[in-house]
Symmetry: C2
Subunit: 647 residues, 2 copies
């Protein structure tokens, strides 16, 4: 199902011509260019007083040949749809990348020497503050999985061909995320993806697991259906030939396994342990040993003009209708699982927004992305049980303007947590949808329950965290998440396995940062703040309290981050007491989000108590689970009575 | 370095004799036993109304032959050091495991039928509520990495040999964590580890990536230096022969790739899509089709009596001195990085506690575990850049009584977050130590900064989160973390890259759940609550405020979870205002931990403001970073003045 079924966009035949000769600069001395990249890497790190020159020096020829002979990129137009992608997965070798940017004329020598200084775009590890950097790197093992997302988008959806090049280190090949990517790329035969492995044999603390045993890497790669080329990474002609071979292979991705020397070119550091991540001991003499400063200039080949219909634009059968999505409508009072509403809304959103793509971690039956797979198969990507690749592919695709929804169980999305953290550093706009939240899933037990997802995703910089309680609310929020033009960052939507009553009309709107007051009066003595499955429980509790003559306000805090400060402050001012209730551990979730409204130092904090899941659950029915965790209507009403009585 | 250097403990020669015949029950009909396991799986799921009988049925022969012919386990003594380990990585096939427990006499048929019911030990997915279950499973791709930890402990440290058996599904082979484990096990030649892959070709939503292409799996495994055996998983004799082959291979781990049929034995579900995770449509006729109920009883072979010195006991050169660790001593006022203190204390703790083991994610130079590697090489495990395996190995080792410290950058430990979540479900006792916390690392930039680790690890059930500010405090806490006899759960210690002043005496004690009031008076107008790098900043701020005539209390909240409720309440009551300051995102960290002390509904909340890292940092010096994030002494003093002025 994930094999490409759609014919490729027309290839102009020059970019990828097997064995194609370089478009220009045939007389450029590649060795000299590589030495220039080394010299500039050494100079930048020396000026900064920190950085990774030795890890840059090992890959100098690999980078020099790439920019001089293969890369197609218009540095004056980073958004050009025909631009290749270059991902420096070994982001600590940033001096090499910045030296290359200088060589192509994108930055000046003066800017190069701002490396690692306050306010410089040339950070210790590359970030998209530089317009030519698609994604932040520096957390190893992320470059290839993200590049797979870029290459999948090319293979399945792009109107104009491009290549994706990844430069990674040998140490990071041990990351499981790299294998997830190898498997996806090999299986999907992403032939325009090239992995360049800088095998310099030395990691942070000493030799890597396999040293210079290139065969060890080749065996792994070939087992995942990759073509491999082994090469002396310091021989420019050999590297050039290897790249041409990679381009000529059209039925699978290629990995260049380059034997290199860390610190190559300077005897004081070359192939020596203990030289990781430090400026060279004597930069001045190192530059002299490398032959001194040079000022070679590389003219990078630019891509062809884009076709009339430039990417991103979906290429499926359905024509976008140019209007708002026709969201599903449910009967008020009916019981509908929010995961079902998510799946149905996603189909409608996909129809209205041709840039929407959906990624599944082989749980599409449960998360309900299956409906999208059936409606829009060309924009559905099966990542199987590999959640790091799932998140990474979403990050890669959004660099091309696609709007990804990546979905799994909320608990299993936590497998990709570090990728989500880095997505924020990449300024990536991705939608994550986690199903099966909380103890309310019932019998399956704690391994399947997301009980720390709100905390984890709230703590991600610039994130949005949404937790709807009914089907219409879910559908609206799913539609809002498609609006990436204004809604930045990582968006996390938490859905429920079981059915909850439909309490909103289909026309109701749910702005990000809003909430809904579901019940209120002038005599409210307490405010119950809930989200998701605890909303219907809070409503039942309010009824029970009313029967006792206690008026309770109920707030549906569907937007957990950002939080509706005004409504919460108003409720605190009017009712004096807040009781939060969440199907989540007590740390970092709804309760803490509510407190956020009162921590500017200018507002008195209300009397507050929070109900949350404090014990490790086992198996039980959903109702039993809510009861045992102390977050059902009975527990809420009881806690509210106590809160009022404790004044 | 990770290759076993220590001679193996003596092998008695019977357990692992190549091709060894079964110890007993030679007349047991293995086909009949497999059918019994199927019948009981079907019955348990039918009684529960949920569960995964079809995923159990595919592995029935694999399980039947294992318990009848290979497993050595004393069910009356789960802590026996010679017991094999059986990890059901495909935890959703729990009915099969429970049916096996019934067949060996560990549980009754009556208990089997409590499956998935409230208060039953037989949860939807296995957990250590059952004494024979070492670790919780159900989050796929975790069983093998954890088993690698068990097998590493056997190969390097055990006094008595045992085997580790893992039964996993084919879908989960796509998880990168599985490859991390394959690589570690293959490289370390863990020959007493056997992986049994139940290749039933159907995942949750349809066919797996490779279907019944056993060769696809074999290529991957062999590329990682595993021996493989392909077998018809429903032929008991063939399975028996495969297991014997696995035991006979003594230079590498073996994987049994078993071609099986999901739902085998019942035509209505066998090899059919859409039958995942549901009871059989007609359990009664299914049982009849399977030949009806049986009551075969398996006598499992028990291990030999343990040697006089039973595991766990360290086997290094150093004799345990039986006293408290001789922790490092620093000069008061000296500047020492807490990561340095961690590394030095770890050596001392390792000397005093022979059960301490240390695991590194190839950053031992930076985290400072290198010192332990040099002092106690036999108890140091290099996991390379594979943080899921790092955490998983720690979980596996603690099942054998070892006390693991697994360390990487705090940011990179987040790569193993979902393993940490599951470690809590496993009731595992592990120490995680994350270095390079916060913006204070300086020039390296955001990819290397842990800024959400406090939130993420606080949200883990039963966790302890510690963030020391000076060297003596760090050393004491590292020593406390070794005391697994009373300190349960996941313990996370956050260390700093840069130096901070030594402010405590070496004799000072730092109980879990405590804090230190560093400055106070009867006229304090505000309390500054800090941890880690913000403690010295808060002290400087207090001095600046004192110069303005404002008395400020300063609390060092080194125990972020559990939090020192009494001291915080006292400070709030006395000073009326709290200002929290943390090198962490505002969500879920120190500020929220402080609020936790006031959310029982019985205490008025103080006026509170929190300072935290709210913008995405770039590169800058540590001092510039603290300033730009608004968490340095100047910002603290300014915010304190505002807080007081805003009354």
């Amino acid at each position: 199902m994930t094999h490409s079924t759609r014919p490729r966009a027309a290839d102009n035949g020059t970019a990828d011509a097997p064995g194609g000769a370089p478009a220009d600069a045939p007389d450029l001395d590649l060795h000299e260019l590589a030495q220039q990249l080394r010299v500039d890497s050494v100079r930048a790190a020396a000026e900064a007083g920190s950085g990774h020159p030795t890890s840059s020096m090992s890959a100098a020829e690999l980078m020099a040949v790439l920019i001089a002979r293969q890369l197609r990129y218009d540095f004056s137009e980073p958004q050009h749809p025909g631009n290749d992608h270059l991902v420096l997965s070994k982001g600590h070798a940033s001096p090499l990348l910045y030296a290359a940017y200088k060589a192509v004329g994108a930055i000046t020598d003066e800017e190069l020497l701002t490396f690692r200084k306050r306010h410089s775009r040339l950070e210790g590890h590359p970030t998209p503050r530089l317009p030519w950097v698609d994604v932040a790197t520096g957390s190893l093992g992320q470059g290839l999985p993200i590049a797979v997302g870029m290459a999948l988008a090319e293979a399945r959806l792009a109107e104009q061909p491009y290549r994706t090049w990844v430069v990674c280190g040998d140490s990071e090949m041990a990351e499981g995320s790299v294998t997830e990517a190898l498997e996806q790329a090999g299986y999907d035969r992403l032939d325009r993806l090239t992995l360049i492995v800088d095998v310099n044999r030395l990691g942070q603390r000493g030799p890597t697991r396999y040293g210079w045993d290139l065969d060890a890497y080749a065996r792994r790669l070939e087992a995942h259906d990759w073509h491999t080329v082994q090469v002396d990474g310091h021989d420019p002609d050999a590297v050039d030939a290897a790249y041409r071979e990679a381009v000529a292979v059209t039925d699978r991705p290629t990995a260049i396994l380059a034997r290199t020397v860390k610190g190559q070119g300077v005897a004081a550091v070359a192939d020596r342990e203990g030289k990781h991540g430090k400026p060279l001991p004597d930069a001045h003499s190192a530059v002299a040993e490398l032959g001194g400063r040079r000022n070679l200039r590389v003219t990078v080949r630019t891509p062809d003009a884009p076709p009339a219909q430039a990417a991103p634009a979906a290429s499926g059968d359905a024509e976008p209708d140019g209007s708002a999505p026709r969201l599903p409508v449910y009967e008020r009072g009916a019981r509908v699982a929010t995961r079902d509403a998510f799946g149905e809304a996603l189909v409608a959103v996909g129809e209205a927004h041709p840039e929407v793509v959906v990624l599944d971690g082989e749980v599409g039956d449960s998360t309900r992305t299956r409906a999208f797979a059936e409606a829009h198969p060309e924009r559905f990507f099966e990542c199987y049980i590999a959640e790091q690749q799932l998140v990474a592919a979403a990050v890669g695709m959004q660099t091309r303007g696609w709007v990804p929804y990546a979905s799994s169980f909320g608990a299993f999305l936590e497998r990709g947590y570090e990728f989500v953290r880095m997505a924020a550093v990449s300024r990536a706009r991705i939608n994550l949808v986690g199903s099966h939240a909380g103890v309310a899933i019932g019998e399956d037990g704690p391994s399947q329950m997301a009980l720390e997802d709100l905390a984890a995703f709230r703590a991600v910089h610039g994130s949005t965290v949404l937790h709807p309680c009914d089907a219409h609310q879910t559908a609206r929020l799913v539609a809002t998440m498609a609006e990436s033009d204004w809604l930045g960052g990582v968006r996390y939507l938490r859905t429920l396995r079981g059915a909850t009553p439909v309490i909103y009309d289909p026309e109701e709107r749910f702005p990000i940062g809003g909430s809904k007051v579901l019940r209120s009066s002038d005599i409210d003595e307490v405010t119950l703040v809930a989200a998701g499955v605890t909303v219907p429980e809070a409503l039942l509790a309010a009824e029970a309290l009313a029967a006792d003559g206690i008026a309770a306000r109920v707030v549906d805090l569907y937007s957990v981050k950002p939080v509706d400060t005004a409504t919460l402050r108003e409720a605190a001012a009017r009712t004096g007491r807040l009781l939060t209730v969440e199907d989540h551990h007590p740390e970092g979730g709804l309760g803490d989000a509510v407190l956020d409204a009162f921590t500017d130092g200018r507002h008195a904090l209300p009397r507050l108590r929070r109900l949350a899941v404090r014990e490790l659950p086992g198996s039980a029915t959903p109702d039993e689970q809510l009861h045992d965790a102390g977050i059902d209507a009975e527990a809420i009403a009881g806690a509210a009575r106590e809160l009022i009585a404790s004044d």
